[in-house]
């Protein structure tokens, strides 16, 4: 397993963690952040997850601002509040439109801008600001669950195209007047270029050795390919430790996992394996241990 893809070999490195809710994305991305910070890289971990889960995982208050993680050197964290991000975004787009459009239309626009799509765009908008930040060596995005994430990632491409089309016609998008999006276009394009650049961005997929999880991961990998992004590595989480599976019930489940591990093998991507622990992955000490278990002692 080559870990260079996780390290800032040429300037800053962006790490995107992806996977369905509940596969262990937050724990493992925090462990990765901890591991990098311990190796001297100035690291920031950012989440847009609606649940304030970084506070939970680091066992300290993080919140909607860049916060230094206590008990760890070189490590900062931030929880983007998606509601707040959406509100900021909504106001930025609606304010110039308020004087121009009838109330009914504004009402529809407001609803559109409260939609899950708008929430993702808003969150992504905040992400991009971080992607233009050069005060860290590594920035980890503990992104929202897979479906969300992919739409989020795809949007800049769609929007760039859309902005291009609409402005030629002098038209107006459902999301707001073209002018208020125009400025964002270049920013979006820079972001998507950064994501496609293997020297700067890596995509880590978390999955579990189960039919649904593999199916979902496969679908996400294919969707990513459509925007020109290849997954860097997989982390297979939740593997039952063989020595604990003494009861035949768990022995049988372990065998089932073995079969799925073979299927994951066939995906032909580098992977790391993480066994299930008897405790939750919380607190800087545990995270440091998990980081070493996963990525090894040296960089």
């Amino acid at each position: 397993m080559r870990l260079e893809s996780l390290l800032p070999t040429k300037g800053i490195r962006f790490l995107f963690f992806s996977g369905k809710g509940g596969v262990g994305k937050t724990s493992l991305s925090c462990a990765a952040a901890m591991w990098l910070a311990e190796r001297g890289y100035k690291t920031l971990i950012v989440t847009t997850d609606p649940a304030p889960n970084l506070s939970d995982t680091f066992e300290q208050e993080i919140g909607h601002k860049i916060t230094q993680v206590g008990g760890a050197d070189n490590l900062w964290a931030m929880e983007i509040n998606p509601d707040k991000a959406t509100e900021d975004y909504r106001n930025r787009i609606l304010d110039p439109a308020r004087k121009l459009l009838p109330t009914q239309v504004l009402k529809v626009m407001e609803e559109q801008l409260s939609s899950p799509c708008a929430t993702e765009v808003a969150a992504f908008d905040k992400f991009i600001d971080f992607m233009e930040n050069d005060s860290f060596d590594v920035i980890i995005f503990d992104t929202a669950p897979t479906g969300h994430t992919l739409r989020l990632l795809k949007l800049p491409a769609d929007w760039s195209r859309f902005i291009g089309n609409s402005s030629q016609e002098g038209g107006q998008t459902c999301i707001g007047p073209v002018q208020s999006l125009q400025a964002a276009r270049e920013k979006y394009e820079r972001a998507i270029n950064t994501m496609r650049d293997k020297n700067r961005s890596s995509f880590v997929f978390i999955l579990q050795p189960e039919t649904t999880s593999i199916y979902e991961a496969n679908r996400s990998l294919q969707e990513l390919r459509t925007i020109g992004v290849e997954a860097t590595m997989l982390i297979i989480n939740g593997i039952l430790p063989r020595e604990q599976c003494t009861d035949e019930f768990f022995a049988k489940r372990r065998q089932m996992q073995e079969r799925h591990l073979q299927e994951i093998d066939a995906l032909n991507l580098p992977y790391l394996r993480m066994t299930l622990l008897d405790h939750e992955i919380k607190g800087v000490e545990t995270l440091s241990g998990v980081g070493t278990m996963l990525f090894g002692d040296v960089a």
């Binding site: 009402k107 409260s114 859309f162 089309n165 002098g170 998008t173 459902c174 649904t212 009861d247």
Partner: protein, 300 residues
Amino acid sequence: MSNMIEDLLVPRNEARRVFVAGKGGVGKTSIACITAIWLSRRGVRTLLVTTDPAAHLSNVLGQKVCETPTQVNGMSALSAVNIEQGKAHEEYSARILEAAKGKYSVETLKAIEEELNSPCAQEMAAFDKFVDYILGSEYEVVVFDTAPTGHTMRLLKLPAAWSEQIELSGLVSSKTESIENVKEKFGKVMETMSDPLKTTIAFVVYPEATPIIEAWRASQELKTVGITTALVFANQVLPSEHCKNDFFKKRSQMQAQYLEEIKRRFNVPILRMPLLDSEILGVETLIEASEILYGGGLNA
């Protein structure tokens, strides 16, 4: 099987819709199938509506599920239908664009087309296909393996001209159907879905932090449009009789804390589905699973 849960799933005087909501990967399709199988084995005429990619449901049911309701092999009271989301979305987009053609400027048409490519439009398209099954009375129970979000429901309620023109005109399923009819139809859908005697909204979670919080947020959003959650399925609960060593005992205790959290947050009946030693694939395993989840007594 408590009476409380029976009341939420078994139809009394009129048809019932059961929506099985929850994030991908928590076992929505399995729970929906298990529930449909259980109902149909009690003699309740049941339709299972799925929007899951065909391959997956076909795996679970062990047979191909088509776009028209088809009887499930060996289950006389159970039919299944698959709404292929990609196709539903294509049809929906084509219909809206057809209706809009000639009425609007080129740029507006372009904007509509772009809007139709959004994930929100995809969700609307799938929901559009649900409507007939929600309002239909051919089955005693219709089980959906997914549920609309609060956002989709709010869009249906919006009175604005814009939504009428763009959304509703596309929802007119035949050329003779008027906007007024469509509005009336959605009024009925809203009324049906917010009536707990007609509709049961159930969330599937497994006893861990993230799935619980995600389900909670989705249920809160539905509440803003007057749709309340009636039931929670806690899936993948470790069977305590097999948790003999410290390792699994500790994991089981961890789950127990989250089961308490589910109770505390949702304050609705909770049905526990234990983790099984094999995957739930095929009608035989589904029947076994339904007896585990709801109890074996078919005449209960």
